[in-house]
């Protein structure tokens, strides 16, 4: 029987096949999904901001760089081989726009960029990038198959 494990904002979880990981209502946050297809284990992080550097500390699962580090450590402890890891990411939307005011701080874009850089730095192939737009996403990740189901309200549903 498979269990659906829910990942909150600024949170990360790992799972073994056949369990699924879920994060609901991603806006400008990003869901980072990583798995080892051979061992069928993986994890998901729901990050809110690009980097922990210069911040006041606090919860490391909130930032792309520190959350990824923690997630990879926990996946490694489950026996996964770093060279086999694959990543998929979703989120990074711009939910609101104020007329006449260009969004100087496009946090969704900055998050997406930071996550891509952090993955590249660690040599983890990024297979799917579903970011941007102005709509929310709910994602289910199957750590066994690596299937990522992305559901939206008005922009369809897909499995990638």
């Amino acid at each position: 029987m498979s269990v659906v494990i829910s990942v909150g904002m600024a949170d990360f979880k790992t799972a073994k096949s056949p369990d699924l990981l879920l994060t609901a209502g991603l806006g400008s946050c990003i869901g980072i999904c990583i798995h080892d297809p051979f061992l069928k284990v993986g994890g998901m992080a729901h990050i809110m901001l690009p980097t922990a550097s210069g911040s006041l500390g606090g919860n490391p699962a909130k930032y792309a760089d520190t959350a990824l580090e923690l997630l990879l450590k926990e996946i490694a402890e489950m026996g996964a081989n770093r060279t086999r890891l694959r990543a998929k990411i979703a989120g990074g939307a711009q939910m609101f726009s104020f007329p006449g005011k260009p969004p100087i701080l496009k946090i969704g874009d900055r998050n997406a960029e930071a996550v891509q850089q952090e993955l590249k730095k660690r040599g983890i192939p990024l297979l799917v990038t579903d970011v941007g737009g102005s709509f929310g996403r709910t994602i289910h990740f199957d750590v066994g198959t690596g299937e990522l189901r992305i559901r939206t309200i008005n922009h369809g549903e897909k499995v990638v």
Binding site: S28, G58, N59, F96, F98, R151
Partner: protein, 198 residues
């Protein structure tokens, strides 16, 4: 920042007065009775937000207004899409179905509701504290509530681990329910409490 029980009580009182004004404004606008819960004050880590706003992927109409000025904050109203559509029908005085996802007129009407509600809330806050606020133009998202809220939390690149907010439920018949939250920016809470001599 550490919050004492006394300060929490003061915040709840702010919420009570402000949300009371907002609920009255909504009632006048819609010409029907609106009930308001006793406001709650929450200081919770992000991962527990869903416990307060419910299912994070529930479609809701979220109206967001920034309160600028000496003690800036963020005011957010959210209504289940069906409730928001009923409110728009009441405003238009028509039973014709509205589709909030596509109808710009309906979206605009709802933003105006947000504008009026937030202004009433802020006027009450000013009367109470002497601090003046300038509300921004309202922005609207009709989408998953979690997605809208995370974008609001992060708009200024928020650094704290907990989110502090005053939370009030609004209900009216038939089928109107909504929630109003006010999030003081970092440092604003202290200013508001000081202005009130707390």
């Amino acid at each position: 920042m550490e919050i004492t029980q006394f300060q929490l009580d003061a915040l709840r009182e702010i919420g009570n007065i402000g949300s009371g004004h907002a609920a009255t404004a909504l009632s006048t606008l819609l010409q029907r009775r609106i009930d308001m819960s006793v406001p709650k004050v929450w200081a919770v880590p992000f991962e527990q937000v869903s416990g307060i706003v419910g299912q994070l992927d529930m479609p809701q109409a979220t109206i967001y207004v920034k309160a600028e000025g000496e003690a800036p904050g963020k005011a957010v109203f959210f209504f289940p899409v069906e409730s928001a559509e009923i409110m728009v029908q009441a405003l238009f005085g028509s039973d014709k179905p509205v589709d909030l996802y596509t109808d710009e007129m309906a979206q605009s009407a709802l933003k105006e509701v947000g504008n009026i509600l937030v202004s009433s809330f802020l006027i009450a806050l000013t009367q109470f504290s002497g601090i003046s606020f300038q509300p921004s133009v309202p922005a609207l998202a009709v989408d998953m509530i979690g997605a809208s809220l995370d974008a609001i939390f992060l708009e200024e690149g928020m650094l704290e681990d907990t989110v502090l907010f005053i939370d009030t439920q609004l209900t009216g018949l038939p089928k109107i329910e909504g929630q109003f939250i006010f999030l003081p920016d970092e440092g604003s809470l202290k200013k508001m409490l000081e202005a009130m001599g707390l």
